[in-house]
């Protein structure tokens, strides 16, 4: 292997100093703080009357409970919402304190949501979960790779032989000492959450609070890990304004208290296999709000803890859920559809089978840490100082100044979030690490399209078997051409490239073919004699999409 192993020390050895530990120690006051603030925010931003807002929330919650109940949902929720409705009806419209009574109900709902969202971090469980992930996985890995009876206790291989944490690793450690880090990874698989949790620990960073999809808590094993890793729950089924305000306040206030945070700004896993091209700005905006409030509340605005945005790109040869994700993407049966959770990740059994396969067969994963940015997407140095594109220093405070005063302007910040989201997407493309498996998929799919210029996408996906054969030599020539282009982009810093991509074309193609969609029942792409055969157009399309957005189509 010859790869030099790096060991990162913990940047904050004293665990009682971890912001997340402090937060969980004051869990009760924190929830109170979130509730009060979300309540104030909601009242000053609400569109309708309080009564209308509550009625709408009840209505939506009822619909959700009926259409899409989950195991994790609290058993009392039906009764709860019925009760809220009854109380609302009981309020006499002529009552003098009618307003007060409605406000009370509102506050109570917000409190319930805060409790629901709030994580339940425990120091001891964290340590256990971490060592379980680290050592447990290492055991599995060794058992599978190193032959011999004692291999279960071998220390020859570690999890980091399989998972490569690369990129700006020292930089993020520095930033975590200087300010609050908000990590925003790409999202392809439910495995991402565990991987990132492990990567954070591996880098010696204190645990992050973590916006995790509530659906993950349906799976017992995952729920345990998520809780102990500092996760708070994001329920994507709940789209009512009261819930969203509470969620955002939770995130914002944790950041204000210096808790390093993590969420997937794409919202859900990429269905198409494409790198996120547009982001959900909800949680992203909380980073900007937190920074602005830190400036507003500071005695000395030139000495304020900064919030750093760190994009992270996770690269797989293989996404467990690819077949159902792509199917869903292709169907696209309507916008307000509820999330189907019956995919390959839905039960503990399926998950463990995957884990076993994952560790027993060779397939690498890389976690590529991007350069830190301030909340407007300007790069920061190791000290956390911002610089514009020309290297001129920037004081982030200046973005909030008007007439020399720090001001709050909601419309302005809406624009800022768009600027930031655009920057994060740009960085994703730069730190996307091309694997040979992505490129073989891209080459093959584009060749299919070229061979059938008159067919639209859906017809290409349904080509008959006899049309799914490609000449290997031609394939190799195209692959090489594309690879040259990627090398050029790589030199310009516009994309990253795995080391195995630099091997001889034949070897690199072999590596790609051996890994693309490795564990699917049907491998998307295989080589038979002098032919490349496409066995599954849907998953091929999925892996091919990873290379979108680089203008490669011109080079085939």
């Amino acid at each position: 292997m010859g790869r030099k192993k790096v060991r990162y020390s913990e940047i904050v050895p004293d665990k009682s100093e971890w912001p997340i530990v402090k937060l969980s120690r004051n869990r009760k006051t924190f929830i109170e703080e979130v509730t009060n603030e979300a309540y104030d925010h909601f009242l000053s931003n609400k569109r309708g009357t309080i009564r209308e807002e509550i009625e709408m929330t009840i209505h939506r919650e009822k619909l959700r409970m009926k259409a899409n109940p989950w195991k994790v949902d609290p058993p009392d929720e039906k009764v709860y919402w019925k009760n809220v409705q009854a109380r609302l009806l009981d309020i006499n419209p002529d009552d003098k304190d009618r307003d007060q009574q409605e406000k009370e109900i509102l506050k109570e709902i917000i409190l319930r949501y805060s409790e629901e969202i709030s994580g339940n971090f425990k120091k001891s469980a964290y340590r256990f979960a971490q060592s379980f992930v680290t050592f447990g996985f290492a055991r599995l890995l060794n058992a599978a790779r190193v032959k011999g009876l004692l291999s279960l206790f071998s220390r020859q291989l570690d999890i980091d032989d399989k998972l490569h944490v690369i990129g700006e690793t020292e930089h993020i450690r520095n930033l975590a000492k200087k300010g609050t880090v908000v990590m925003v990874p790409t999202h392809f698989s439910n495995l991402d959450s565990i991987l990132i949790g492990w990567a954070i620990h591996y880098l010696g960073l204190p645990p992050f609070i973590y916006g995790a999809g509530l659906n993950l808590f349906n799976i017992k094993i995952l729920a345990y890990f998520m809780n102990s890793l500092g996760a708070y729950k994001v329920d994507r089924r709940k789209k009512n304004p009261i819930y969203l305000e509470t969620l955002k306040t939770y995130s914002r206030n944790a950041m204000k208290r210096g808790c390093h945070s993590l969420f997937f700004p794409g919202g859900t896993r990429s269905r198409s296999g494409e790198i996120e091209s547009s982001l959900k700005v909800g949680l992203l905006s909380t980073a900007i709000e937190a920074q602005r409030e830190l400036y507003l509340n500071a005695d000395d605005p030139d000495n304020v803890r900064k919030v750093f945005i760190v994009p992270v790109v996770i690269n797989y040869h293989f996404t467990l859920e690819a077949p159902s994700l792509i199917k869903e993407h292709l169907k696209r049966t309507g916008r307000e559809r509820y999330y189907v959770e019956a995919d390959e990740f839905s039960t503990s059994y399926k998950l463990s089978t995957f884990m076993f396969k994952f560790f027993t067969k060779g397939s690498d994963i890389s976690v590529n840490v991007g350069k830190g940015m301030d909340i407007l997407g300007n790069y920061v140095d190791d000290e956390g100082n911002s610089f514009d594109k020309n290297g001129n220093p920037i004081n982030v405070k200046d973005y909030f100044l008007r007439d020399k005063k720090i001001t709050f302007d909601a419309q302005r910040e809406n624009e800022y979030v768009r600027v930031l989201a655009k920057r994060v997407v740009e960085e994703y493309h730069k730190y996307n690490r091309v694997f040979a498996s992505h490129l073989v998929a891209y080459t093959a799919f584009k060749m299919l399209e070229r061979q059938n210029p008159k067919l639209d996408l859906y017809h290409v996906l349904r080509l008959p078997d006899e049309d799914l054969e490609l000449d290997y030599e031609e394939f190799k020539a195209k692959y090489k051409k594309l690879r040259t282009r990627i090398e050029k982009l790589h030199k310009k810093g516009l994309v990253d490239m795995a080391d195995h991509m630099k091997e001889r074309a034949t070897d690199s193609i072999a590596h790609g073919l051996a890994n693309v969609g490795l564990y699917h029942d049907q491998r998307p792409l295989i080589k038979k004699k002098d032919k490349i055969i496409v066995q599954d157009t849907n998953t091929l399309y999925y892996y091919h999409n990873r290379m979108n957005g680089y203008g490669l189509e011109k080079y085939i």
Partner: protein
């Protein structure tokens, strides 16, 4: 700090061309203290002495400077009003002194063209939006300023100077920039509309110059008002198509900065671009015309750029193409006129498709 109400706001204007001067005067008249930057040191001296710039008398609240740094160090709000060909150079000089708290509202009505030295524009590497930027895009590329806006509308400088009524559009993604523009510029004979479609409004101001050159040729040939109106309305359709291909939307073109400005520049000999076309039709060569003009007519440069862009983006634009041939001596004005009269234009209006 506390004396905010009594002290006047200091506003910067960069560029003392006719529009820059007119804007400086409007600002000054509105109780702002204005610093006007003049690039040429000799000209700075004359203007300071005579208090006249581009034929307009300067308001007493205007202070003239030749020191570019002075503008960003003293003013939070700056109005850059320099020709597109010089804009990038100017803003690069300005950039080290700009901070994210600055607000920039520009009044430049041309594209920035930037092709890196090692690149050549060929059919394999056609001219695209990567090389052609609007001024707000240049500002965002070269500086840390985000709060950017633009001014566009029928604002013939001479008429503004004569204190005739007019209106303009301040466009920005930021409401606070629009409000700032309104607060500083609005008076009882100057109305300010706001728009969030920054790129669309910038494109209006830029593209209408093409049509203005063409309308000038029609006036020069003395073809009458029917022909001119025909030309202007077809020109508007062409503007919309190009605009859409370059990232704008149809709406902006139907407003004050689109149709409004188009009518003003296509019918008035106060317009420089119109004058270029007019004199071409009267038989002068392009070089003669350009050499004798005091200020840049953006339309000529825009015709060259848009003609190439239209090819890259496969947009049919017969008017721009024809004007391109005229200014490159590939076609006489008479030939061009015959060509357009026989051109199979599509349906009269087809960009307002129902949504």
């Amino acid at each position: 700090m506390g004396s905010k109400n009594t002290s006047k706001e200091i506003v910067g204007v960069i560029g003392a061309g006719s529009f820059g001067t007119a804007v400086a005067n409007i600002l000054a008249e509105n109780e702002s203290q204005v610093i006007l930057y003049v690039r040429d040191p000799e000209k700075t001296k004359t203007i300071t002495k005579e208090r006249v710039s581009s034929g307009q008398k300067l308001h007493e609240n205007i202070e003239v400077t030749n020191n570019l740094e002075e503008i960003p160090s003293k003013c939070e709000v700056i109005f850059p009003m320099v020709p597109s060909a010089n804009f990038r150079d100017m803003v690069i000089k300005l950039a080290p002194h700009l901070r994210p708290y600055h607000v920039l509202i520009h009044g430049t009505k041309g594209f920035d063209l930037f092709v890196p030295k090692q690149q050549k524009i060929t059919s394999n590497n056609p001219l695209t939006r990567e090389h052609v930027k609007t001024i707000s895009e240049v500002i965002k590329e070269e500086t840390s300023v985000l709060r950017v806006g633009c001014l566009a509308g029928p604002n013939l400088a001479r008429e503004l100077d004569q204190r005739k009524p007019a209106a303009t559009v301040v466009a920005s993604h930021f409401d606070e920039v629009i409000k700032t523009g309104q607060r500083l510029l609005k008076n009882d004979r100057f109305m300010i509309y706001g728009s969030r479609d920054l790129i669309g409004i910038e494109l209006c101001g830029i593209l209408k110059n093409i049509i203005a050159v063409g309308a000038g040729t029609i006036a020069g040939m003395d073809l009458g008002e029917n022909a001119k109106s025909l030309f202007i309305s077809r020109g508007l359709v062409e503007m919309v198509y190009i605009g859409k291909a370059l990232g704008g939307n149809a709406q902006a073109f139907l407003g004050l900065a689109g149709v409004g400005d188009l009518i003003a520049t296509c019918t008035s000999n106060l317009s420089r671009n119109f004058t270029v076309g007019y004199r071409l039709a009267k038989g002068e060569t392009l070089n003669e015309i350009i050499d004798s003009m005091e200020e840049v007519a953006e339309g000529v440069k825009t015709i060259n750029i848009v003609n190439q862009l239209a090819e890259s983006y496969k947009v049919r634009c017969p008017i721009t193409e024809t004007l391109y041939k005229i200014i490159h001596d590939e076609m006489t004005i008479q030939e061009a006129h015959g060509y357009l009269m026989n051109f199979p234009f599509r349906a009269e209006i087809d960009f307002l498709d129902a949504q």
